[in-house]
Every structure is written in C-alpha cells, then in structure tokens.
Symmetry: D2
Subunit: 422 residues, 4 copies
C-alpha cells in the first residue's frame, strides 16, 4: 500500500472546505479529475456517464451558481467544459489484462446545513471548515471521496499484479437519492461483474463493519405542481381555478392510498406551498412528497397511485398539473459471496472487532440503483457500512467523524480488489 493516513486526512480536509450541494459539485469533480488523470486514469465526464433523461431533482439555478463558484475557486476549465453541466465522474482503471470488471461507487455531494461556529469543532480549531455558507460535508461524503482517491492510488501502484478493470464512480447528488439513476441509465457500469459501495460512520462506531445491512427501502421522490387561474376572492370567486384547494385535496387523497397487502409502504407529503395573497383565488401550489415500499413492486404501486391521484385532482379542479420525479432508490439484497468476503476482510483489519452484526437499514440509498443494475446484468453487488465514531449525528452542524477509519475503508476496498482481480 502506498497511501498513508495523513495523506487521506489531508484530502478529506481539503474537500471538507469546499462542500457542494447535489448537482453543483463542479469544484469537487474537477479536483478529483485533477488528482486522478496524472495517475493514468481515463476520466469520463458529462454525458459519458450521465443520461440526462434520468437526472432527478437538478435545479438549474443551483447548477449555474455551482459553475460560477467553481470558476471563482479556480477549478480546471478543461474539466468544467467536459462536464457539460453535469457533475460527477468515472475514473477507469484498465490493467490491460483480461479479467473481471469491478464498479466502486463514492458519493461526493454535501448537505444544506451551515457548519457550526463552535470553536471546539475540529474543523474550526484546525481551519478546515466549510467555505460555502449553508453547505457542509455533514454526511461524511468528503470521507467517501477520500477513500475513492486512496483506492485509486492503490490501483495504479499495483497495476502489474491486477487483472481486469475497475471503474471508480464518483457520484453526484446522493442526498435526495437523485444522482444514481442517471449514471445507471448511462450504461457506464453495464460491464461490471461486481459492484461495491459503502457509507462511513452512519450508525456504527469505530471498530465495527456492518457487512450486510438489510431492508433498503425502495423510494421515489415526487413533486406535484398545480396551476390554476387567479380571481378576486370577493368579487369573482367563480372565475378562479383554485390550485391550492386542489393541492390540499390531493394531500388528503395521497395519505389515504391503501396500504399494500404484501409489505410495508409509506407516503409523506413533506412540503406544501400555495397561493400568493389572502384575497386571491390561488393559482399556484406545489407539494413535495415521497413514497417508499418494502420492494420495488410495492414502491411502484405507490408511485402509480400518486400519479393517478395527481391527474384526478387536476381533472376535478380543472387545473393544469405536472409531476416530476425528484429522486429514487430501490431495495437491494447483498450477494452472499461478497458479504462473506467483506466480513472476512473486515475482521482481518486489526482495528475492526465486529463485522457480523445484523442490521436493518430501514432507509433509502441510491447506490442500490447501481447495485441492482449490476445484479440485473448477472453481476454481484454489496453495500456495507464502515463504522466510525462521530461527534454528532449525520446532517447535524456539529458532525465530524473518526478520520482513522478512512484507512480502514481504503484497506477493505483494496483487499477486496486483490481478492477479485489478483
């Protein structure tokens, strides 16, 4: 191995200073490319790895702000151009020898949280806090990028000993499960025999690896927008087409979607915005919701019901409507071969004392879309958790994690690669 923990920590702290929210990771993507191209990786960007038809929850204003900021921070314009407005990259390692292909996935976006100003917070003490107000690597994706870079160095350092290929996917917009679908649909990992992804910390402490989380929930995030016709609420209420009232009725119907007989389902309308003035029949309303299902079929049942209701409401209230899928993830079952390997590899790390714990994920991760894509093509997939002590829960302003576990992560991946490709 060629990568030391201090190097990993240096990288992590650099990325920590430049957190970028989903689909605006221009500086981050360019920096990764800057680091990996010289090592010999082929760098794939933009529509090479993103199918625009499957891009979810991408806000153009945020994209443009991200590009401008990346330029201001001096991001390499060569990469910015090739990105074509779409963040993320895939770094391809080709051993030059026949063999298996492994896809690894590291997510690179931050969350919309303002980092604490507490002087005791390590990033404040050591001067590596976020420079982007209201954005923070509070979910540990700075660590994920770092592990990806560590693995990349390993690959090139051990090119002679390895066969086949490794595609390191640096995925944008994991928050809101928005980025994976577009990468999967690009076909870029369709030749993969193996897929692996992971999260650092999460609910596990340093010394624990959760090799086989269960119950990844399928989910779809949907926005519904109604557009009616304004009218004066006192004088001519009958001339209005009331988008707010339509949306309110939509909410009452959505929450009443029948439970599914074959497994868990969920629905939540989390945000409602409608109307402009108290005395105007509201002409605009938007609701933001998510559905979940124990599996893809149940989740799809929920999506179908949502779409049906959205349309029925528009019909009944004579308002226009649009629905937009803002994010999605699926359920996935880890392949036993890879679970067994990760358990063994993890336990071989001196600092790890447990890799065999049962764990129910009970949440959604869009790495599953990539994993299922590989499985559907006949390959094998795994998503696991690398324990790391943390100072606060994920997404909190005070979040930080045990940086020593970055090396644990790199070692697990590199050992896995050795076992599969050496």
């Amino acid at each position: 191995m060629t990568i030391s923990l201090p190097q990993l920590i240096e990288w992590r702290r650099e990325f920590h200073q430049f957190p970028e929210t989903g689909w605006s990771e221009f500086w981050t993507t360019a920096k990764i490319a800057d680091y990996l191209e010289p090592l010999g990786f082929e760098i794939l960007l933009g529509k090479q790895i993103i199918n625009p038809d499957f891009v979810r929850g991408r806000n153009l204003a945020i994209v443009e702000k991200g590009i401008a900021r990346a330029k201001a921070y001096g991001a390499n314009s060569k990469w910015l151009e090739k990105m074509e407005g779409y963040t993320g990259c895939v770094a391809v390692f080709d051993s030059g020898k026949p063999g298996k292909t492994i896809a690894l996935r590291f997510d690179i976006d931050c969350v919309d949280v303002a980092e604490t100003k507490d002087p005791n917070h390590r990033a404040n003490q050591l001067g590596f806090a976020s420079r982007n107000e209201g954005e923070m690597h509070a979910c540990g994706h700075d660590g994920h990028i770092t592990i990806g870079l560590g693995v990349a160095h390993f690959l090139m350092a051990n090119k002679d000993k390895l066969t086949g290929k490794v595609k390191i996917v640096f995925q944008p917009a994991e928050e809101g499960v928005r980025g994976a679908a577009a990468i999967a649909a690009s076909g870029i990992i369709d030749d993969a025999d193996y897929f692996a992804g992971s999260h650092i910390s999460f609910c596990a402490n340093s010394g624990t690896v959760l090799a086989d989380p269960k119950n990844f929930l399928s989910t779809t995030k949907i926005d519904i927008r109604y557009k009616g016709k304004p009218a004066h609420a006192g004088a001519t209420p009958h001339l209005g087409h009331n988008a707010l009232l339509a949306a309110a009725h939509a909410v009452t119907q959505l929450h009443g979607i029948s439970r599914h007989g074959e497994g868990m389902s969920r629905i939540n309308v989390g945000i409602f915005k409608g109307g402009s003035g108290r005395n105007v029949i509201p002409s605009d309303a938007e609701i933001k919701l998510e559905v979940r299902g124990e599996n893809k079929a149940i989740n799809q049942y929920m999506v179908d019901q949502v779409m049906q209701i959205a349309k029925g409401i528009a019909t009944g209230f004579a308002v226009e409507y649009e629905t937009e899928i803002m994010g999605e993830a699926v359920d996935m079952v880890n392949d036993a071969e890879l679970v067994k390997l990760i358990k063994e590899i993890a336990m071989a790390q001196p600092q790890v004392h447990s890799s065999d714990q049962d764990y129910s994920f009970n949440a959604s991760e869009d790495a599953t879309i990539l994993g299922r894509r590989v499985q559907d093509n006949g390959g094998k997939a795994i998503y696991f958790i690398i324990g790391a002590d943390r100072t606060a829960e994920h997404h909190q302003a005070e979040f930080d994690f045990d940086e020593a576990q970055l090396l644990t992560g790199v070692n697990i991946y590199t050992t896995l690669i050795e076992k599969l490709l050496a």
Copy 2:
C-alpha cells in the same frame, strides 16, 4: 259554469284514494283520459308528450309496479297501451276557430308518505283515505287534477264562445322536479302563447291568492354512482378500487365548490350509501345531491362543477362512474300582463280578499321549465298560488286542505281563459 263544488270534491276524493308516486301514475292518467275523451278532448299520451331523453328520476321497478297495480284497479287498457310506459297526458281543446293557444299545467303525482291512521283525519272519517300504503296525496296534487277536470268541463260547455286552443297538461312526477323537462322537450306546448300553472294552499290560506311569487330557484338533482372493485380489506387491500372512499372525497369536494360572485348558489349531498361489508374494500357507492342557483346560469355553473368533480374523482380513484340527472327546474319571472290579469280575476272572486301580497318562493317547481319554454318561444307565463287553509304542512301524514278553494281555482282559470280566448 257547469261545474259545482260537490262535483269537484267528489273527483278530488276519488283521486285521493289512488295516490301514485312519480312516473307510476298509470291509474290516474287512465282515469283522467276516461273522463275527458267522452267530452271531446283529444288525448295525447306516451311519446306524443314525453321525450324519453329528458325523463328524470324514473325508476323502472316503480313503473312496473305502477302498471301492475293500475291493471289490478281496473285501469282502461286502451290508455295503458298508448302510454308506452310513460305517465301523464295532454288533453287538447280546439275551438275550431283561429285564436291564441293556452297551455295549462296540473301535476298529478303523490308523495311517499303513509297517510295518518288518525280517525279524526277527514279522509279516514269519510272513507277516502289512500289505498296505496306508503303513498299519499299529501301535497294537494289531487286538488290540481280536480281543477284541471273542472276547467276541461268549462271548455267544452263554452266551446262556442271561445277561440283558439287550450292544452291541458296533466304532468307526472313533479315531486323531485322530474316530469316537466320531458314534456317540454316533446315540443307539445311549443305553440302556446300563454302558460299558466299554480299550486293550491302551499303557504297561503283561504282567501288569499299569491299572483306573483318571486325567486323560483333553478335547480338540478343529480345522482353520482361509483363502481370500483372489491377486495379483502385485511389480506389484499391494494387490489381494491374503493368506491366508498371515492364518494367520500367527492362529497368533500362538492361542498367546496366556490361560491358564485353573481348570486346565490347552493349544494347539498343529501344521501350517501356505500359499501356492503366492514371487511371488504367497498366496490359501490352512490350519492344523491342537488344544486341550486339564483338563475339558470349560476345553477349551470354548479352542475358543471359537479360533473367535473365527479369525473376527477373517478380518474383519481380508478373507479367507474355514472351521473344521472334526476330532476330539474329553472327560475322564471312571471309576465306582468298575466300577473295583472290574475290579480284582477282573483279579487273578483267573492271569497278572495287579497291577491297583491309580495312573496318569495325560495324553492323550486318544474312548472318553470314549461313556463320558460313558452316564454323562450315568445309567449307569456305565470305561476301563482291559490290559498287554502290546511290541517298540516304539505308532505305531512295529516295534510288536508280547504276543498272549497277547488272552486276558486277553477274560477280563476276559466275567467283567465275567457279573457284571453273569448
């Protein structure tokens, strides 16, 4: 005049014994025809006077029961055949001389009320109570028929003195405002220059005639039926298409139809029946509603909204639906010429002391459909109220009215005819 009060009373009490609910007035219609054909009237029946496309709220089981009962009571089969299943008749008087055409309307159906068993009730004392359990002439339409017969006798007795034509419309199914639309749409009164209709008693006592009631409300009665798919509520709720839930949401949307800026509107879902078992996703639901409007346009706005909502709900819940118009009436403004005439004629009756009172009807009557039809064709129309003391409110089991006012009614109509046709 050839008709005496005792004759009128005899007729009224005969019809009182055979009350028939809307669209089942087979005995009544046949009896009227039996009385009037020998006098020289042309009797029009069935599709001659009924346009089936505009028949409202006609229940086939009730029709068949009515036919069977009329036969059992010995109704003339000649008329039953010609009726083609549709009750009501128009008796045409033709003076043989050129002149104006007058359409008069008398409604003939009863209400679904069981007549009181109280021995002090006159019909019980004198033995002319309803023979049809659960049906009763508790709205005075037996009196209306009687006045129509009285007028008919007058016409033939005075044929030489009169010009033009009179069409006496004996209308079925006024209750629920169901019968007039089909008669109007048959075109049978499209040649009328004048239209007159009236109600006995209502809110006025003996001695009062209300010559110009105002505020007839436009109304439409609508049934909405949803048909879904049953499923076991415990095991496979997701397989059901819930008609009851759909109808419940329809109710909440219907009551929320926006008020109209230009005048009074109303909506009421008066009846809801849905589902068959507690543990079955309900596959059937029906709601019965009415809308009203200060005028036809506002009422139509309400109807349009109802239809839109009914459809939107069906779309959103993936259930089948049907809507049926069960009744309708419009607003109507009496023509000044006829109001003036009726006021004068009424005051010329010795027993009448008032004909000039303001009165707001604030309810619906489908005579307005016939009156508006005549007005729309350039004619003039009136609907007035012949006061009569009553023993209880209309539609009560104890209802009876001052039979002496039958003669008042006949005299007003015959004097009007003299003034218009002599």
Copy 3:
C-alpha cells in the same frame, strides 16, 4: 371412544337446520344444554359466562327476534330464562380429581347468507337445509358445535381415566369477532392451564391438519355515528349541522391515518349510510369500519387514531357523535408444546397425511382473545385448522364440507385431552 360418525353427522345436520346469527343463538344454546346436562355437565349461562360490558355488536332487535323464534321452535324455557338474553354456554366437566384445567372453544353462530335452492346441494337433497331464511351455517360452525358435543360424550365416558377439569366453551357471535371478549372478561376460563380452538375446512382439504397457523391479525371493529341538525338545503342551509358531510370528512381522515413504522396496519371503512332526502341537510350518518394491526400495540394505535379523528370531526362540524366497538380480536402465537402435540396427534390419525405445513392466517379470529387470556395467565394456547374438502368457499350459499372430518376433529381433541389429563 363412544361416538360414531353417523351420530356426529346427525347432530351436525340438526344444527344446520337452525342457523342463528350472532347473539341470537337461543335455540342452539338451549339445544346444547339439553344434550349436555343429562350427561352430567354443569351448564353455565348468561352473566355467568358473559360480561355485558364487553359484549360487541349485539343488536337488540335481533336478540328479541331470536328469542321469539327459539320459543316458536320449542326451545327449553328453563335455559332461555337463565340466558338472560345472552347466548352461548360453558359446559363444565369436573373429573373430581386434582389436575390441569383445559378450556376448549367451539363457536356456534351462523352467517347472514341465504342457503342455495340448488336441488343438488346435499342439504336440499337430504332435507336438512336452513329453516331460517337469510341465515345459514355457511362457515361450518354447525360442525364446530358437533365436535364439541362429541368431545363432551368422550369426557363423561372416560371420566374415571381423567384428572382435572375441562370447560367446553360454546361461544356466540364469532362472525364479526364479537363474542369472545365478553366471555374472556367474565373470567370463566381464568383457571385454564390450556386452551384449544380450531376451524374446520377453511383453506385446508381432508387429510391435512394445519397445526400452527401464523399471523393472526389484531383487529377492532368500530361504528361511528354522527347526529347533526336537519335544515332545508335551499332556504336555510346555514341552520343545519351536516352529519353526512362530517362523516365523509371522517372517512377521508381515517384512511389517511399514518402507517405504523413497526409493522402492518390496516383500515377500512366498509359501510357508509347517511342522510334522508336530497334537499335536507343530513342530520344522521353512520360509518362502519375496521382496523387491524400486526400486533395488539399497532392495532391499538389505529384504534386510538380512529377515536381521535371521530372526536375531532364532531368538534369541527358541531355534531354529536358516538363510537361503538362492534368486534375485536388479537394476535396470538401458538405455544410450541401444544403445536408439537397436535402435529403428532394429527399424524396418528389414519386419514391425516400432513400436519406440518406452514400457513399464514392473515385474518382475524376472536378465539385469540380467549387464547391470549389463558397465555396471559401463564397457560398455553393453540388454534389449529382441521382440513376438510368443501363444495364452495366459506360464506357461500353452496358451502358444504366433508362430514367425515368431524370425527377427525373429535379424535384430535380427545387424544389431546388424554395426553394432558390422563
């Protein structure tokens, strides 16, 4: 053994002729008492075995009709008096020797189905069809009674060989899960060490015994009634308190009760009746619903939400309301000791070839309330299924079952008793 199959069949066909719907099983109860008292059983009736506070879904009109009919059929007035209006009985066998106490439960009510008139239906061929129009033993409870009688005969025939006690519970009103709660709350089986109950046929054919059905759902059946104030929908709509609109909104809220994060939940409003006339603001509405939960806690969560919503709606619409619990059942896990015994006993029957199949009940049975009561008191409980071929599904007008399995049922129970008490 002293009971022959022909005797069992004779009993079954006798009870089949006198089906009585829940809480009206007066003839049935009296007949059972007539059969068992002479054998030496103590017969407990009325409030000895029924806690009126926990009686669910008992309609007084049906009770009175049941009593009158039972008298007309010549039911023993001694028993009718002791019943105090409450059906069902417990027959107590006391060996006179110390030992364990076993509670057995056989349900005795019929379903509200009119038996087929098909001449090929065995009950029609052999003349033992239902004499009570609209009621039929279409769920096999006539067979349950019969097995109970068979077991009773065995007990007395083998009194010398047995120790302890057996309480044979003949439970009313299982349909709608209405009867068990009142028996449990009477405390009559609180001394039981073992509890056993079963269903004949269900989904299993002759030769199969399902010794350990899983997933009994907790459920509560609730009626909600709203009482408002009528008003004329055209003239004075603001004076009404709209019970139908209240109930419709209740339905929309009830179906939107949040899913539970810890397991399956269900809700269904199966029946809605409201209003009396299209033009009257409805003053009355009733909805009939059920909730279910994977366990008691989740079911209780649903019940709590329903009660909260019922009250909130009454507050918001200024209407009066009442809620009534119409039925209830709980989840139950069979005790391993009894499962093992039943499996062995079943396989020892020559006609049984399978007793080891997995089966998910996925429905509700109020025997669980009795079983859980015994378990909560430290005892052990089981509910199993005695396979029997059937001619149609349960609750169908054409239902009949393989009567030979009555003997299978008796043999399983008597062997169980021998193993536990001999």
Copy 4:
C-alpha cells in the same frame, strides 16, 4: 382657503418618497405630527388612540425595521417615543366653542410593491420615487395624508368661524384592513357626531365623485397555525403529529362551510405553507384565509365556522393550533343626510361633473369600522370616492394619479366642515 395645489403636490411627493408598510409608518406619523403640532393641533399617539387588544396583523420584525429606518431618516424622536411602537396619530382641532364633533379619517400606509423603474413614470422623471425598496404608495394613501394636511391648515385658518371639534385620524395599516379596529376600540372617536372618509381615484376618473358607494362587505382575515411533532417518514411515521396534513384537511373543510341562506358569503384560503423536508412528517403549517359576508351577521357566521373547524382539526390530528385575526372590516350604509351634502358639495366644485352615480363597492374597507362605531353611538357616517384619473390600476408598480384632484378632495372636506360646524 389658504392651501394651494402646489403645496398639496409638494406634500404628496414628499410622502411618496417614504412609503411605509402597515404598522411601520413611523417616519410618516412623525412627519405629520411635525407639520400639525406647530399649527396648534393636539397630537394624540400610541395607546391614546390604539387599543393593543384590537391590533390586527402587526408583525414585530416589521415594526422594528420601521423604527430603525425612521430614525435613520431623522424622524423626530419625541414622536417616536410617544408612539410606544404603534403608528398613526389623531390631530385634534378644538374651536373652543360648543358644537358638533366631526371625525375624519385618512389612511397612511403603503403597499408591498416595488415602484417601476420606467423613466417615463412621473415619480422617476421628477425624482420623487420611493426610497424604500419593495414599498410604494401605489394605492394613493400619500394623497390621503396630503388631503388631511390640507384640511388641517383650513381648520386653523378658519378657527374663528367654526364651532365644535374636528378629530383628524391618520390611520395606520388600512391594507389588509388591519388598523381601524384598534383605533375604534380606543374610544377616541366615541364623541363624534359625524364621520367621513374617502378614497382617491379607485375606479372613478377626474370629474366624478361617488357620493354613496354601496355593498361594503364585512370581512375577517384569519391566520391558522398548526404545530405538530416531526418524525422520520420512513422509520417512525406513527410518532409524528402531521401539521401539514391537518392543515390540508382544514382547507377542505373550510371551503365546504355551508352557504348562508340569508345572503352572500365568501371564503378563501389564499396562502398555505407547511413542512420543512420531504422525508419528515411535517410539524408546522400555516394557512391564511379571509371570510366575507353580505353583513356583519353572515360574516360572523363564517368566522364562527372557521374557528370551529380550526379547533376540530387540531383535536382530530392531535396537534396544537392558534388562530389570529389579521384584519377586519364591516358593512356600512352611508347616512342619507351626509350623502345629500356630499353630492351637493361635489357638484359645486367646478371640475366635478357627476356625483350621483350608483356604485357597488363589493370589497372591504376598514373605515367602515370607524363609521359604524360613530353610527352605533348615534352619529352619522359617510365614505365616498374622489375620482382621479390614474396611469395604472391601484397596487400596480406604475400607479400614479391626477394630483389636481387633491384640491378637489380638500375642498369637499372643508366645505362639509363649514356646513356642519359654521
């Protein structure tokens, strides 16, 4: 008369530059006081004229921003202190002689509109555009203040000729009908024999005075806020108390409030904001609505229904709630004596050619609260409209009006005062 049109225009343009939204008119109030105190008026401020219990729709952040800005603009701190945080003032003229008391009302707040940057807009051409971004005198209240100042100068210039008292009310927060209730409730005009108020321009052009607008609608503006409990929508949805869902159901119920049989009613939920994240059970929601009625009683019926529903929803969803009245106005009928006077006075102005036109206001103005207060105390009241050509509709960024009509306004008021007090 001592006031020239150029002086009026100068004042109007000064106030136009410092528009202040409702309850933040600190600079405006101080400036009025600065102008009127030296003339001899008693200046009443703060709780002398404002009853805090009846203050509607006053946002503390806006108040504080207003105070800070007024200080920055150099507002007289003497007045700022006396205001006690409440804007508006009453300038009292006392002739020293016995006589009638007249209350005049001029509203002083602006609207939340950014003034156009169009160089052709007069305020831009002549350099008197709004200095407060996002705020603009786009409803002509700068003109109202100006007329009030003009009248004030007249009073002092003619003190010898006049009897009695005049109270000139400079009212804050007319937009949203928020300010009048607090002034009325202070009792400051309870000694008035006459009340007069007016609007400039509105729908009338230069040369027209509308002396008797009809159909002022009673209205109440209400905010409802629900506070529930957040929970993770995937893992623990049952732990949430869903404020957004509660508010959505509230909207569906509110729009379904029954029409009133005795006259026009309105309801509109104009704004809905709820929830914070797609995957969080929403813990907060707010809706902003208004009701209206043809008269106070019908409006109050609507308010009562709203309050009932707001509470019922809170009960049913187990969420906390608060309601806040944000504004209110009543209906008012002008007194015939004053209508006659204003018509005559208006027609005596050379530039006015019409004062007799029928006009239906069909909207709400909180001057009615003050007018009705005076009427309820036995006095007489009027609200009229002073026509003025305008460049755009009120509340538009391009709004401006014919400044020559400021003098028309002053002359009408001063003539009225002469007629009543001289």
